[in-house]
């Protein structure tokens, strides 16, 4: 996996982890059913491995943190 693709996947994972699972619910009307969310989480499982890939690459770099641009 190249580094751009990894970054994109890590970004998506981070977004997913927030927008689906957290945030204000002011209204009772949520279009997303639990079943949909479970499907999304299947995707997360795959994405988690990309974090590990990202980390393997990073480990060779000097910088200890790697800031992800969260913009799509």
């Amino acid at each position: 996996m190249n580094s751009l693709a990894t970054r994109r996947e890590v970004t998506l994972l981070e977004v997913l982890d927030r927008v689906i699972d957290k945030g204000v619910v002011l209204w009772g009307e949520l279009t997303l059913s639990v079943a949909d969310v479970d499907l999304v989480y299947v995707g997360v499982k795959l994405l988690l491995s990309s974090i590990e890939t990202a980390e393997k690459m990073r480990r060779h770099a000097v910088a200890a943190t790697w800031e992800v641009d969260s913009r799509p």
Partner: protein
Amino acid sequence: MIWLYAVTDRPEAEAPRVRGIEDAPLATVCGDGLAAVVSRCLRDVPPTEGNLLRHEAVLEALMADRTVLPVRFGAVASERKRVRQALRERRAWCETNLKRLRGRVELGLRILWGEPEGASAGGACACPTTASGRTYLLARAEEERQEKARREQARDFALWLHGPLERLAAESSYRLLVTPRMLLTGAYLVERDRMPEFRRQVSALGSAHPSLSLLCTGPWPPFSFVSPELQGRTEELVRDARF
């Protein structure tokens, strides 16, 4: 239908020019000193990569010049009137939280460690084919004991790493061992101007512990600090392993 992105504290401010879900223009619905940022949408908006990122992109555009209460993906209202009504009903709650979040952003942190593979591999090999039931049970009990010790060790280590970061944040939350390798998943509510300091601290932890991998992300909209279950508290959420 009306798709909701955020509640903000600036009803007078124009909606940003970025496009929302389904490429629709953004609009604001104002009421009682608050504004909900919305766009029109069809009834079903699937949680595709594009839609999730679009929701996030709108929030990031809003964060540039106002405080936001990010709304969870998937919230829709049938008409504007209902949005205004909800703003009215939740006004006090929204105002309190907007005040709490003003000038602050969420930073994310994931810490990976390399420890667990050895332990689990050893356990798997110990699985006997010819040994007696008693030997098997003893082996299982030993495995369980090791697993428990490992979790305790992980917890102590994670909290030790989390401590100095927590002190730089107004609020924080974390989960331990979401996967065996992911020691800590943290969210930190940090003053915008303290972000560099926070990142330096993460770097310092990385330098001090070369065996760890640290991934610091953000700034994010403060998603992790508006969920009802997390609100205003530092707390540990060891969730059932979904992964």
